[in-house]
């Protein structure tokens, strides 16, 4: 099963948490927690298993960020979520090395949250006009400008 092979190879990376997800309630087969600097290795591992990057987003927990990566596979039903806590003001290593599709996702997270991605080919705003100076999806953003 794809879920087992992924689980086996993930434990090799000694991540914080690799657990089975409750598919009926949350829609995940695997729930993983990792540190920011382990993320490129995790992404490369999923690429080797021919999984695709389903979505990459961030959640503003006011005192820190939580980056959420979803990986799924075309060939077998196995959705993995990777939670990566990130302190505010620090940069996140980019995974465009393995997934070229992450380029736009990371630019959107930068645009909406202001999280910098180190190693990103051209990190600039993707949705807001270039001269915008605010990050709208932050909890303290009042908006209406």
């Amino acid at each position: 099963m794809l879920a087992d092979t992924i689980k086996k190879s993930l434990t090799a990376l000694n991540l914080e948490k690799v657990a089975d997800g409750d598919y009926a309630k949350t829609g995940y087969h695997l729930e993983v927690a990792a540190q920011p600097d382990q993320m490129p290795a995790v992404a490369q591992l999923f690429l080797d298993q021919k999984c695709y990057l389903e979505s990459l987003t961030a959640v503003d927990l006011v005192e820190s960020f939580l980056l959420v990566y979803h990986f799924a596979s075309f060939f077998e039903l196995c959705r993995t979520v990777v939670h990566v806590p990130l302190a505010k003001g620090t940069r996140m290593p980019s995974i465009t090395g393995s997934y070229k599709g992450a380029d736009w996702y990371e630019r959107e997270v930068y645009d909406m949250f202001g999280i910098g991605f180190s190693g990103h080919p051209n990190l600039k705003r993707i949705l807001l006009p270039e001269d915008a100076d605010f990050h709208p999806l932050l909890k303290d953003f009042v908006g209406g400008k």
Partner: protein, 371 residues
């Protein structure tokens, strides 16, 4: 002298800009051109950014519901269904079977309107105006059927958490069956008018080829992916709602060029007809709404990811709930965002006319990309 100055640069820049007939909305692609050929390009999105995700944080679950019909307004019912399924998962609500059938029937009808509109708009990109009138004629029939049931033609807001508010009656069923027969009889019109057209084949065969490796790199889903031969369809690979009860096949292409993506969408329309027919035959009786649906929706803390197969690909909604009336964070994973991100790679070294054809074959909806 003056002429000498302009000699060195060989390429010039062109805006396939926000207001352009082939961008189906307000997408801008900056093209660096050498004569007719594109040296490199960069899509510039955001002209249709309406801040759906920020609205989700400021509104309660029912208040955010009308937005679901306005993200991808061509297949709005699939977005409604996904949002309902996500909230029902959070609340632990069970949807009665008849409601699931009604959802499948209306969602498949809506998929047909989306593919028919793509068919007309795509061929208008290639320069043929007549198919646009053919397919809009068929599309209007579906819109009448759905309009009678749901009350709107395009931005549907029909399903409710826990079921469906209005039941389908015999007139709806007979109108839908009549439509299924009529559209089936139109297939050979479409094939004779377009698929067997030499010019069309000449312009689409072996143009804009997408390989499987590229598809994995960019996370393509939907007919754009199935054109390259990967049978990934959420209705089959991650069955939801009442889809396991119907048998239908997933058409795929072999070469991954524009013609295969075109054929996949046409064959998919036939499969949708089969699903609708089977759903009408096996329509169970019973309630259409769950018994007790809480008035104030305050789901427990936790997060959920639900995926649905829309006409353009996998639409996933990721909701983080902190046990409040309003969701803490809602992320909309839209298929066109990923499908468009491959554009600059596959239009390298092609003619401008082919670029327009490739962009049309990806079938993107701009406000869905920009959210």
């Amino acid at each position: 002298m003056m002429l000498q100055r302009g000699i060195e640069e060989k390429t010039f820049f062109l805006n396939l800009g926000p207001q352009h007939p082939s961008t189906h909305g307000v997408l801008r692609v900056v093209l660096e051109m050498d004569g007719e050929f594109i040296v490199n390009s960069e899509p510039d999105i955001g002209y249709g950014h309406r801040a759906h995700e920020k609205m989700a944080e400021l509104k309660t679950y029912p208040q955010f519901y009308p937005n679901m019909g306005r993200v991808d307004y061509l297949h709005a019912l699939a977005y409604n269904q996904c949002y309902c399924m996500a909230v029902e998962k959070l609340l632990g609500l069970a949807v009665p079977e008849r409601a699931e059938f009604i959802r499948v029937i209306t969602s498949e009808l809506n998929r047909l309107t989306s593919h028919l509109l793509w068919f007309g708009a795509y061929l208008m990109d290639l320069g043929a105006f007549t198919p646009f009138l053919y397919c809009f004629d068929d599309r209007e029939i579906i819109l009448d059927i759905l309009d009678r049931l749901t009350g709107s033609r395009l931005t549907y807001c029909f399903y409710r958490f826990g079921g469906v508010p209005a039941d389908i009656d015999d007139e709806f069923i007979s109108a839908t069956r009549g439509f299924v027969q009529r559209l089936r009889s139109r297939w050979d019109d479409y094939h004779n008018l377009v698929t067997k057209n030499v010019i069309f084949i000449e312009r689409t065969r072996d143009v804009g080829i997408i390989t499987e490796a590229q598809a994995i790199q960019y996370g393509l889903t939907g007919p754009t992916l199935r054109g390259s031969g990967i049978p990934y369809d959420i209705r089959k690979s991650e069955p939801y709602s009442a889809y396991p009860l119907f048998d239908f096949i997933i058409p795929t292409g072999e070469r991954g060029d524009i013609l295969d993506r075109y054929m996949v969408r046409l064959l998919e329309m036939e499969q949708s007809l089969r699903i609708i027919e089977q759903a009408l035959d096996k329509l169970p009786t019973g309630p259409i709404m769950a018994e007790k649906v809480p008035k104030r929706l305050k789901p427990a803390e936790g997060e959920v990811y639900t995926a649905v197969e829309t006409a353009r690909g996998e639409f996933g909604i990721y909701i983080v709930s902190k046990g409040d009336v309003k969701p803490y964070r809602t992320k909309l994973r839209v298929p066109s965002f990923a499908n468009l991100s491959i554009l600059s790679e596959i239009i390298q070294e092609t003619l401008v006319a082919d670029t327009v054809a490739i962009l049309g074959s990806l079938d993107v909806v701009i406000p869905e990309i920009d959210r």
